[in-house]
Amino acid sequence: MVLSARGLRKEFAGFVAVGGVDLDVHHGKIHALIGPNGAGKTTVFNLLTKFLPPTGGRIELLGQDITRTPPAKVARMGLVRSFQISAIFPHLSVLDNVRVALQRPNGLATQFWRPAGALDVLTPRAFELLETVGLAEAAHRLAGDLSYGRKRVLEIATTLALDPKVLLLDEPMAGMGHEDVAVVAGLIRSLAADRAILMVEHNLDVVAELCDWITVLQAGKILAAGDYVTVSTDERVRVAYMGTEDE
């Protein structure tokens, strides 16, 4: 177990967005967080990555308590997230998007006196990462000019630059075309080989095919947890989640 949360809570001025969630994310496994809109999935993400401070509960990453750790520190410890809206640096080139991520782990972040050419040592590794996601030939284009699907893929490449122990993907396939979904699904599966992945996803076909464990959230609480068969046959889940999907 690399990431675990116990009794995770978040209240916004009296409104309980997340009310006592327990979650365990394991190495080499893909864990899905699903639930209807407003169930608190993204809030859980923000709590785990410390973009929001929890109002209660405890979070452990690789055996260390990170309940009060700032978000950048958590990222440096190996817990890296993606965002629901594709988070890229639009006015930087595709290559520079990845290189920026490589800079800090390689000790090239604070040198304000060195020329930008100092970053050239990162270029081969950046190209490797772009190859992984099939973006190498677009390396010199502005990231903002990429199609939506390719922006998402670029974001994954950027995240991989940090070689995270735990990868949190917030709706990685949202808004993607069919072919892109297949590509990204394959990519995620290969990434899971040597890290833990927690993802929010609405596409249940993808969840069924990809994920080892599923946690269903509703109104900030866990409704059910288990593998796809267990969860999909659960009566409460059918009513709360699948039901609304069919409408």
């Binding site: 990555t49 973009f51 700032p70 978000p71 950048a72 520190k73 990222a75 440096r76 890296v80 997230r81 993606s82 965002f83 988070a87 890229i88 640096f89 639009p90 006015h91 930087l92 080139s93 290559l95 520079d96 290189r99 920026v100 991520a101 800079q103 800090r104 782990p105 090239l108 972040a109 604070t110 040198q111 304000f112 006196w113 060195r114 020329p115 930008a116 050419g117 100092a118 970053l119 050239d120 270029t123 390396a139 010199h140 950027t158 630059a161 940090l162």
Partner: protein, 321 residues
């Protein structure tokens, strides 16, 4: 220019063209005092450096400070006081002014970077106003009179800055060093991180960058360089007054930067040159300067939002930024 090293041939030729233009610009500045009034040129250089320092924050980090006059005018006071009262040489006075502005930047930045957008601007404005009232009250600034008759002295105790060409080339040296420093910061590994913060702050955080620290560092650097410009101006004009710490001065540097083009190296210089020229021309005509600058600002916002240099870059293919 950060992309140059990684982009093939077309970029190489662009780079060569840029270096050629830089060389031509330096030659022009070396020759300029024989054709133009040196004080006027030095004033432009001081404001150009000020605007470039401001642009380091606005254009490359995405922080709009509305309090940069505190660093510009504050450094002028520090420099004028130490040179006149303590009797230090001008280069020491300029360094003290710069260091003072950096300290001021550290304090103001510490409070301001905790907020974003308009709140950041408002806090910098409020802190700069506090500094303004400090300057009104503090005995060493002589209140409304300012510090007058600051001796230009001898650079390194040797070179008489009372001579027009000596002071001109000294100011040119300071200007070039300052601009080079900004160019180096912008196009450095650190500068890349600043750009990523400007582009998407949350994403930069999620990549492990402690965004607040980088912002504060950029704020202090920008403050110090604005101070370098202000301190140098105090030596050139031999006085430091309240004008340079007013909020209008903070507004003026924003105008210069927007007019020339934010996020470009040359833009703020062009903007500063334009505004200073305009002020000097209109000063003798009796036409209110503020109306002219206001009108220009509106035209700029309506017709060319990227600023003069920004629009030129956008029109020329092959040159980015």
């Amino acid at each position: 220019m950060a992309e140059l090293s990684t982009r093939p041939t077309e970029a190489k030729s662009t780079a060569r063209l840029e270096w050629l233009l830089v060389a031509l610009g330096i030659v022009a500045l070396l020759a300029a005092p024989f054709f133009f009034y040196p004080i006027f040129l030095m004033k432009i250089m001081c404001f150009a450096l000020f605007a470039c320092a401001f642009n380091l924050l606005l254009g490359y980090t995405g922080l709009l400070s509305f309090g940069h006059a505190a660093f510009f005018g504050g450094a002028a006071y520090f420099c004028a006081h130490t040179v006149k009262v303590w009797g230090v040489t001008p280069e020491v006075g300029i360094l003290i002014g710069t260091a003072g502005a950096a300290v001021l930047g550290l304090v103001m930045g510490f409070f301001a970077i905790r907020r974003q957008g308009i709140y950041f601007a408002m806090i910098t404005l409020a802190l700069a106003q506090m500094f303004f009232f400090f300057c009104v009250q503090a005995p060493f600034t002589n209140g409304e009179d300012g510090i007058q008759n600051v001796p230009r002295g001898f650079l390194l105790g040797l070179l008489d800055l009372g001579r027009p060409l000596n002071i001109y080339y000294t100011v040119l040296g300071v200007f070039l060093i300052g601009v080079f420093a900004i160019w180096r910061i912008v196009n450095s590994p650190f500068g890349m991180v600043l750009r990523s913060i400007r582009e998407n702050e949350n994403r930069a955080t999620s990549l492990g960058y402690s965004v607040a620290n980088y912002k504060l560092a950029a704020f202090v650097m920008s403050a110090a360089l604005a101070g370098l410009a202000g301190a140098t101006k105090a030596i050139v004009f031999q006085f430091a007054t309240l004008t340079d710490v007013t909020w209008q001065m903070s507004g003026e540097v924003i105008l210069m930067t927007l007019l020339g083009g934010i996020g470009t190296m040359v833009g703020p210089m062009v903007g500063a040159g334009l505004v200073v020229t305009l002020q000097n021309t209109l000063a003798t005509s009796g036409f209110p300067v503020t109306i002219a600058t206001g009108a220009i600002f509106m035209i700029c916002v309506l017709l060319f939002r990227r600023g003069i240099v920004g629009e030129i870059y956008a029109k020329l293919p092959g040159i980015k930024k």
